[in-house]
Symmetry: C2
Subunit: 142 residues, 2 copies
DNA sequence: CCCAGTGGGGAGAAATTTATCCCCCATTAA
DNA sequence: TTAATGGGGGATAAATTTCTCCCCACTGGG
């Protein structure tokens, strides 16, 4: 575990939430779990731009923060399934709102972000797969 | 402007939103603006743990991303006011939801985060001021 | 024995974000 | 002229996060 040298601001809800969601793949992981992509190997496939290592690390942090839990099946082939805790479920509306807002404003945001940042179009893998699943999800909700 | 070497994943709403909100003080800045803390010097006072420099930088990024705008008053003493664009306003429900969720679960989250991270209690300044203002805000909404 | 699939994680480098220091410009008052 | 206020930003160091490479254990099939 990395030893932080600068204390985190945790006295307002905003910072607490920011800390819980702080990680390049954490929102995507939570979304994936809510879409029933619950096994590590499935996530590695779905979030193909993230390495196995990073996913493991962020999964562990989410677990430590009480957002997700894991079920370990003692069997062959070894099998693990993550799930949202009640706390995690209560966070999903936030994730969904982020997802929705980003989707709704994609056409405005992408060029602005691209202009402000050097962005190379993802090399084909990206999260297209993930994206299509999101749509299924939204459709299911609606 | 920093030249990114690894392309950002921007093809799903979640990542777009994450990128827009990516910055230690961005959510706090947006919340501050919605609380009518709109002048740079006011923000420096309210978010006392953030340096003037970082605030300026994140303000500029939010501006570049179309979330906020600024009005410059040509007068003495020189005066600048930031405001939420329509896009920014549409993002506020997400910020408010993050704020609310964190507030509601503070008692659960703080110990878990603290156990997972070396956290020194803020030295007195912190965002207490900011926090109390948030409460006023919530009260005003309710 | 070696390979494949499933779940994990150490070590160190590289990338990115924050923090620190210190200076700039403009205007006005003393 | 010299402060003082208000808004900005360069340069560089330090902190933090992410990436890459590689290894561990288990079990079943060539």
């Amino acid at each position: 575990m990395y030893e932080r040298k600068i204390p985190l601001p945790l006295d307002c809800g905003l910072h607490l939430t920011r800390e819980v969601l702080n990680g390049k793949w954490k929102p995507a992981i939570l979304n994936a779990i809510s879409l029933d992509i619950v096994r590590p190997s499935e996530m590695v496939r779905a979030l193909s731009d993230a390495s196995k290592r990073v996913l493991n690390t962020q999964l562990r942090e989410l677990e430590n923060h009480g957002i997700i839990g894991k079920t370990i099946y003692q069997q062959y082939p070894s099998k693990v399934e993550y799930f949202l805790t009640d706390l995690g479920k209560s966070l999903m509306p936030v994730i969904d709102a982020m997802n929705y807002w980003g989707d709704q404003n994609r056409s405005i945001l992408k060029p602005l972000i691209a202009a402000d940042t050097i962005v190379a179009e993802p090399s084909g893998s990206g999260c297209q797969t993930y994206q299509s699943m999101v749509k299924v999800h939204n459709a299911a909700i609606a």
